[in-house]
Amino acid sequence: MYLPDFDYHSPESIDEALSLLANLGSGAKVLAGGTDLLHKMKQGDLAPKALVSLKGLDKLKGINYVEGRGVVIGALSTQNDILYSEVLAKKYPSVSHAAKKMASNQIRHLGTVGGNIVNAVPSADLPPILIALGASITLVSTSGKREMALEEFFVEPASSVINEGEILTEIVIPDGDLTGSSYHKFGLRRSGALAVVGVAASARVAGGVIEEARIVCASSAPKVIRTPKAEAFLAGKSPAPEVLEELQAIVESEVRPRDSIRGSAEYRRNLAGVLAKRALVDAVESGHGLPAED
């Protein structure tokens, strides 16, 4: 399959990119890693008049710890950048682990965290763990810049609150007092598999008791979702077997999966409950995880 004809722009600064987008209007699409966009264009699902490539914008790359802000991840960081980041290995190996479970080495080398978020597919692997860690994102356009919690970004499959002309520039995992986090993905083979269901958990544990927890599910609803009832239930509990059984039941009641080629709604519902238990146990017992191996 071949790409349809389109104009290609490669701006050298964020300002140039933003003004290009503002001028081109709805016919333009932002190109980051291209692993999703170019595929859709080849399939004939999308035919933008123009692509504005962010590839030359080095300011959007890099993963750094910034005192007072937290871990700042440039939106153009590839999934392999996340997998091999020393900053994340030290602070949040759970994020690196989530990247490691994505696609294949070749795709991880191209695909970006920004693209993984902006595509807004319910099966994306990075949003659950980032939301569990309370990440915020920055969106910029010619009319200014806004910040929001990542969990407020998604609307439905392939739809988010991003406006025409806006670019996602960075993701920030704020400093906080969460003691652990983890992402469990269920795929149908060990590489090159999309999530049938993915669940991230984070927790603040003191003296064996969960003070606060987040359970975030992918491929379980039209968008990546948190499960408020399960989170409320967990406050003040420790992960005893009967607590986990009840957690599974609550998560199963909160998710809204659909039948798909990869699994029935019923199966996915069960998987969400099972993975929630496992992710929570890891978050409580293993902190943010051990650094991912190569």
Partner: protein
């Protein structure tokens, strides 16, 4: 039995290894000619529809389009595997019969224009109701797919050997189980392609094919040409597994487009088109009834099968017969009944896939046999040992078995997998299970793929003028399995020469003697026999030449390691090189010829040729799996494969075949299935959602061979490539049962099906308690 060989039995490096590893190897799609055009085929978007009109004018008007053809531009001679089942046209004439059926083709100056041109061909269709479920294809009131085949029955088989009624009457236990198979696709890494060019009346086709000779035969037949005017050349091929066994349409359409334009035309499939063309594994519905004694001895069996053929016969008539014919190979019983319907559906046609018709019935039978063993309270290994076929026996359907070391395979597999320890209470960690399954396969088909009295294989060896190298000319296609390497080993062995000095020209119908092709696991035995004869002829000529040079009788001379020496007088010796050179000077080219035709095989009943073979391989797989009780996820923990494949020519290549077959078999067991929507469109025509295994999914594999020698074969060899796929699905089914106490009765044995079976089991148990 050990034999004294110098080159056979050594893991010499592949003759094509360097080319492939460095990327120097040229595949069909890499071959370019000056002025070459690109061609693509327009296919049907409907599962079943009448063609009202085809308008190609807009496509023809597009710049870069050089030719557009439809059924009006090609012969309307139907083709297929056998005259009674010729049911496929180059392009559809009145109807399309599946999504992907071939309607027209274009030749353009570049690939991109082809895709644009295809969109401009206007085809008006009248959509007809479609048959999508093969189990309903025979029902009253179903649409008729081919007028010539009432009730959509493509092939009907009813065979009975012995007296099955009597066997069941005498049995202690008669049990029936029913299983449903999946549609799988071969998914070779290299997409199909063909490049056609004409020189006057002569057509040359470069094709990614498993059988240049069969392609040559069908191309000549379709166009009414002499075979001598059709040359088919196979460049490097990136896997076939049965899917590149018959012409795809790329060859026919390419030939016509090249003729019309006067330019070379390269035709190709993309990945989606490969899935649509298909010719992969038939899904089968399999009902198996077995009668056994109290001790577990099988008295008789009845296979009652239905098969989803798709829209055309393809190679499916052979698949249909194979499905039942090969089942009595691994276990001895006297009474056997085999009924089968192969049904037309409005889905892509199914054909031959590694193991041909055998693997799904084997899954059914091996799962069923474990159910029988459970009812009798027997160990699965014991019931197989009790019934295992022995050497020099005859199956109820008249296949003569010579060498057979199945008992030895079972015994070894039992030991190396630590079976007995693992089967003890607590012998494995929780969630683990272990299963065993057997397999067997032909070492080449006893009868040719189309009716002919030509030999099945023929080769020529030419020793080069100065004696420093020899070239093997063979029609046998290396499609990745390594036949170029093992055939050179065999030729060098027979000549008394060095493997390292062998060259090979293969799979070119003009420069090489004919060979029926790479299918039915036939090359090592059959082409190997031709190599042996050719090599021995060379050796004989050399010894005669040396005899006059040394003034010694020829029978006092021997040639080994490229040295000709006297057996009686030490020190009297000449090099292969000097004798070969002398031969050329005094007597002309030093040539050896060999050909192979199997002996007359099999019984006299209808369908008796399918499944005959000079020799059969036997094998056993034991698999250990770990099941995640909450999710149904299956992890293959370890696999043990023990094979009787006669003498091994190249151990490293042999174990490579076992690993590859296991990977394919595992994929079909748990991960792979071609899915369709309610309009007959493929839902997963890509490698993201049609999940072949990745390297990370492979378990540790221990592959062993047992001591075995086949008297009827050159150096005692037998097959490996296809037989090793046969046991895998049954092995998984049985290991899952052992782990969890649930049986999944349909392939693939997916995580979700295992989870559902476990859930239903829990609910049953809770129901009992309440």
């Amino acid at each position: 039995m050990s034999i004294n060989t110098k080159i056979i039995g050594r893991s010499v490096p592949r003759i094509d290894g360097r080319d492939k590893v460095t990327g120097a190897a040229k595949y069909t799609g890499d071959i370019k000619f000056p002025n070459m055009l690109f061609g693509k085929i327009l296919t049907s978007p409907h599962a079943h529809a009448r063609i009202i009109s085809i308008d190609t004018s807009a496509a023809e008007a597009l710049p870069g389009v050089k030719a557009v053809i439809t059924h009006k531009d090609v012969p309307d001679i139907k083709y297929g595997i056998s005259p009674a089942r010729w049911d496929e046209n180059i392009f559809c004439i009145d109807k399309v019969r599946f999504v992907g059926d071939k309607v027209a083709a274009v030749a353009c100056t570049d690939e991109e224009t082809c895709y644009k041109a295809l969109k401009l061909i206007k085809v008006e269709y009248e959509i007809l109701p479609a048959v999508l479920d093969f189990r309903k294809a025979m029902d009253e009131g179903m649409p008729q797919i081919h007028d010539e085949y009432p009730k959509n029955i493509n092939v009907e088989i009813h065979q009975e050997f012995g007296d099955i009624e009597k066997a069941f009457k005498e049995a202690h236990l008669v049990r029936t189980d029913a299983f449903l198979g999946n549609r799988a696709y071969q998914s070779p890494i290299e997409p199909h392609s063909a490049t056609s060019l004409w020189d006057g009346d002569k057509l040359t086709v470069y094709s990614s094919t498993q059988s240049p000779h069969y392609f040559q035969y069908y191309i000549a037949r379709e166009f009414g040409m002499d075979m001598g005017n059709v040359r088919v050349v196979k460049p490097y091929v990136g896997g076939g597994f049965g899917g590149k066994m018959e012409p795809t349409g790329l060859e026919f359409a390419g030939a016509v487009l090249a003729k019309l334009t006067g330019r070379p035309v390269r035709m190709f499939f993309d990945r989606h088109e490969m899935f649509a063309h298909n010719r992969g594994r038939h899904a089968q519905y399999m009902e198996i009834t077995t009668g056994v004694t109290k001790d577990g001895k099988i008295l008789g069996a009845h296979s009652n099968f239905m098969m989803d053929g798709g829209a055309y016969t393809s190679l499916g008539i052979a698949t249909a017969y194979y499905a039942g014919a090969l089942l009595p190979l691994t276990y001895e019983f006297d009474h056997y009944k085999f009924d089968l319907f192969r049904l037309y559906t409005n889905l892509p046609a199914c054909g031959a896939q590694r193991g041909h018709g055998a693997p799904q019935p084997k899954y059914a039978f091996e799962s069923h046999l474990d159910n029988v063993a459970t009812e009798l309270g027997m160990d699965p290994m014991d019931i197989r040992l009790l019934n295992a076929r022995r050497p020099e026996t005859v199956t109820p359907n008249d296949f003569a078995i010579h060498s057979c070391e199945l008992t030895q395979c079972l015994t070894r597999a039992r030991i190396i997998s630590n079976w007995d320890e693992k089967k003890k209470e607590g012998g494995m960690p929780k969630g683990h299970g272990i299963g065993v399954s057997t397999g067997s396969f032909v070492s080449g088909a006893g009868y040719p793929i189309y009716r002919t009295d030509l030999p099945h294989s023929a080769v020529v060896i030419k020793v080069n003028e100065d004696g420093t190298s020899a070239t093997l000319y063979t029609g046998a296609p290396d499609i990745g399995q390594g036949s170029d390497t093992v055939l050179c080993q065999m030729a060098a062995e027979a000549m008394g020469f060095h493997y390292e000095k062998m060259k090979i020209i293969a799979a070119d119908t003009e420069t090489c003697p004919m060979d029926l092709g790479a299918y039915a696991s036939r090359l090592t035995l059959m082409t190997g026999a031709a190599c042996k004869a050719a090599g021995e002829e060379i050796k004989k000529s050399l010894l005669e030449m040396a005899s006059s040079m040394l003034h010694l009788p020829p029978d006092d001379l021997e040639c080994e390691d490229a040295i000709i020496y006297s057996k009686s007088r030490e020190g009297k010796a000449l090099t292969f090189q000097e004798v070969a050179r002398k031969h050329f000077v005094l007597k002309g080219p030093l040539i050896g010829k060999g050909s192979y035709t199997p002996p007359k095989l099999g019984g006299k009943f209808k369908g008796s040729p399918v499944g005959t073979s000079p020799a059969y391989s036997f094998g056993v797989q034991v698999g250990e799996v770990k099941i995640d009780e909450e999710t149904g996820e299956i992890e293959a923990v370890g696999f043990w494969d023990v094979h009787d494949c006669g003498t091994v020519v190249n151990p490293r290549l042999l174990h490579g075949q076992v690993h590859g077959a296991l990977s394919m078999g595992m994929g079909e067991s748990v991960w792979e299935e071609v899915l369709f929507d309610d309009k007959g469109k493929i839902k997963n025509p890509d490698l993201a959602n049609y999940r072949i295994l990745t390297a990370l999914d492979m378990p540790p594999v221990e592959s062993e061979i047992v001591d075995s020698y086949e008297d009827i074969a050159p150096w005692g060899v037998k097959e490996i490539g296809e037989g090793s796929t046969n046991p895998t699905m049954g092995c998984f089914s049985n290991a899952i049962y052992d782990a969890m106490g649930v049986r999944v009765y349909s392939l693939p044995l997916s995580y979700e099906k295992v989870w559902r079976a476990l859930k239903e089991k829990r609910e049953r148990e809770q129901g009992k308690k309440e």
